[in-house]
């Protein structure tokens, strides 16, 4: 049939013999062709038909019944040829521009620079700027613009999908085995070894399903989308080229029509038409692929969830109601903690022993007489309005020279600082006694308004939450060693900032403290108040 031009040494001996025997059987036959001649046969045939039909038509008189049919046939065959040419031209055009960017080295690029190309490029830049700044009359194609926007949006979407879905897959592959392993480990300490559970099978089944999910996802979603992604750059280049041609076209718009402007226009229109038509097809196909992949993603997830549900369902023993869990556990834990070996050696036990020894003596303050009307009127008469303040809440004296105040009691401020210069402690006069109180406890006295008890400003004795920052600095009277993550170690005389004056269960013996960026609980009786902020 034909001789192959494949280098003989690439073929196996058997194949070589086969080929030789075939060609030998044909040698000597008259219509032996080589591969090249064989392949050109269809092209020659296609081109022959228009000529043939044309001749036939010309020699047929118009009155002949076949004339019409001949005419149509001739037109159709001519169309075929035109289409083939057009397609070939487009492919050539694309190849021409594609080759430009891929195979060039810097040297090649430099060698292409000549007057003509430089002037062409600079003209384009000028035109581009003109369009940007002045919006001059220009050739526009809305269809193209629309398709191009869609094209770009699709590319971005596909890229994001690939990235996000890959990441999600990665996380699923990390999370599921970990969860399964934890379940197995917990099962091990919850039951005796001799109880027949046979769960290792469940574990391996579930893990296999996880692997299957990953490979399906790869095949059905990531591979097609990635392949699609590689197809986008090709059209990009052509779009760019079209824009260049557009700029060329625009530059000729203002000037009179000439051979150059005609050429530019033709080139632009050809490229534009090609792109419009094919971008539409591209966008549609790309969109379909995207939709399919999203659908597959959802079904894959559904199936994975089912498998996981089934896997875990086989492990379920007799179900308990939620509320009894903590009851049971607390009971067991209590029993354990009551074991003598635990009780006698527990850290809290030792801690309590120490704290008993170190307890500070409670200060008993002398009973202070309360403010009476006489005192108040004395204050009102002695001091001016600006100096009068009212206690927002009950103030307990804690240091030397402090005084107690009840809520609503009137005081006159003598000095807005204390002997050591701190402005948060003020010297006040109650009409009865003089002493220091924290300024945050006072608000300016306004006798005109009926001072209703504002529930928002009301503080109960032990609610310290709205104290100013100054009053939350404490220091460690003794060093304290933290025994767990919840507690904070303290050095002697270390300053700490108190965030809360009780622990999570309301126990007021433990305060939440912060020091050097670390937070933790410390025993309240280890702390003393700082006198200065």
């Amino acid at each position: 049939i034909a001789q192959y031009h494949i280098p003989k040494k690439q073929l196996k001996a058997e194949t070589q013999w086969l080929i030789w025997s075939f060609s030998a059987s044909f040698r000597g036959k008259p219509n032996l062709l080589d591969m090249g001649s064989l392949m050109i046969k269809p092209i020659q045939r296609v081109m022959k038909y228009p000529l043939l039909l044309c001749e036939l038509r010309n020699s047929t008189p118009p009155s002949h019944p076949d004339y019409r049919a001949l005419d149509d046939a001739f037109a159709a065959v001519k169309d075929i040829n035109v289409n083939i040419n057009e397609l070939k031209r487009r492919k050539d055009l694309v190849l021409k521009y594609k080759k430009n960017d891929e195979d060039e080295s810097l040297k090649d690029k430099l060698s292409k620079l000549n007057i003509h190309s430089i002037s062409k490029k600079s003209k384009r830049v000028t035109n581009h700027l003109k369009i940007l700044t002045r919006g001059e009359s220009q050739v526009k194609d809305n269809t193209f613009n629309r398709e191009e926007k869609l094209f770009r949006a699709l590319e971005k979407t596909v890229r994001l999908c690939v990235k996000n879905i890959s990441l999600c897959l990665q996380h699923i592959q990390d999370a599921m085995p970990l969860a399964l392993q934890s379940v197995m480990d917990l099962q091990e300490i919850s039951y005796n070894k001799d109880d027949e559970m046979g769960y290792s099978e469940t574990l391996s089944n579930a893990l296999n399903s996880c692997h299957d999910f990953a490979s399906h996802l790869q095949r059905l979603i990531l591979t097609p989308l990635s392949a699609l992604l590689t197809l986008f750059p090709g059209p990009h280049k052509l779009i760019q080229k079209r824009y260049d041609k557009l700029l060329d076209c625009n530059s000729y718009l203002q000037r009179s029509a000439g051979e150059e402007s005609d050429l530019a226009k033709k080139e632009y229109e050809a490229l534009n038409a090609q792109l419009v038509e094919e971008l539409q097809a591209f966008n549609q196909a790309a969109r379909k692929i995207l939709l399919n992949c999203l659908c597959s993603f959802i079904t894959l997830l559904r199936d994975l969830m089912l498998v996981a549900q089934q896997a875990y369902s086989t492990l379920v023993p007799v179900p308990l109601s939620v509320s009894s869990i903590s009851e049971i556990q607390n009971q067991v834990l209590e029993e354990v903690q009551n074991l003598n070996c635990v009780k006698e050696n527990s850290a809290t036990f030792i801690e309590r022993k120490l704290s008993f020894e170190k307890k500070k003596p409670v200060q008993i303050l002398p009973e202070m007489p309360r403010q009476t009307d006489i005192h108040r009127s004395k204050l009102l008469s002695t001091y001016s309005a600006e100096e009068l303040y009212q206690a927002k809440r009950k103030c307990n004296a804690t240091q030397e020279y402090d005084i107690n105040l009840l809520e609503g009691e009137l005081v006159a401020v003598i000095e807005q600082k204390d002997p050591l210069g701190s402005t948060s402690r003020w010297l006040v006069d109650t009409g009865n006694v003089k002493g220091y109180v924290y300024s945050s406890f006072l608000k300016p006295y306004n006798p005109a308004k009926m001072q209703k008890v504002d529930t928002e400003n009301r503080f109960c004795d032990d609610d310290f939450e709205n104290i100013k920052v100054d009053e939350q600095i404490f220091y460690a009277v003794h060093a304290f060693q933290a025994r767990s993550d919840h507690e904070l170690s303290l050095q002697e005389y270390q300053r700490v900032h108190i965030l809360r004056f009780c622990d999570l269960s309301g126990n007021k013996e433990w305060w939440l403290a912060e020091a050097q960026g670390q937070k933790g609980y410390v025993p309240a009786n280890y702390l003393g108040k700082m006198t200065y902020a």
């Binding site: 996380h171 934890s182 480990d185 059905l220 591209f282 597959s296 959802i298 875990y312 556990q329």
Partner: protein, 244 residues
Amino acid sequence: MIFQPVKMLLVERDFEREYGKLQQLEEQTRKLQKDLKKSTDADLAMSKSAVKIPLDLLSNPLCEQDQDLLSMVTALDTAMKRMDAFNQEKVNQIQKTVIEPLKNFGSVFPSLNMAVKRREQALQDYRRLQAKVEKYEEKEKTGPVLAKLHQAREELRPVRENLEAKNRQLLEEMPRFYSSRLDYFQPSFESLIRAQVVYYSEMHKIFGDLTQQLDQPGHSDEQRERENEAKLSELRALSIVADD
């Protein structure tokens, strides 16, 4: 006196065995706590990344023009957000009924270890004094020696009693501690399983409903795969793509 060493050996053997089991349990609870934390963190990372998928799509102008795509992505967005919410709830449940109890159980071990350490000290004291007694017993029975022997025996007695008391206590209480783990952890195990089952059945339902809503509920994955391949070939045939 001959039997005591044998008895001591038996006690030692039992002690090692029981304490060994507890040490292993301590290690297991500690590891499990860490692993569960890692596992729940991984779960949360997963749902966060899942939420991102439709979120990024929605912010893309593509969805604005394409009604079908928009409705699909919106439905997916709702589904992923629900997944995230359920996942968070599952993690909270695990935190409360499994991780917390593990921590609480683990907090008992320091005390136990302290008790074992003290018993160890008592054992060392006993051995030291016992050796002293034996030393005097082997010497010539002179007056001062006998006196020292008597004294040594007196010293030894309370120490031995202390040791025996500790042994008794620990040998009785260690197995109880060990067996308490069953009653303690079974509820946690059940809770963990239940949390997972609830979560996955909800997820299965959500994604099942979503597949019903989709454009082509009839198409199988294979059909979609084939269609994708066909479309890709179509694209490669386009002249503007210029596939080499």
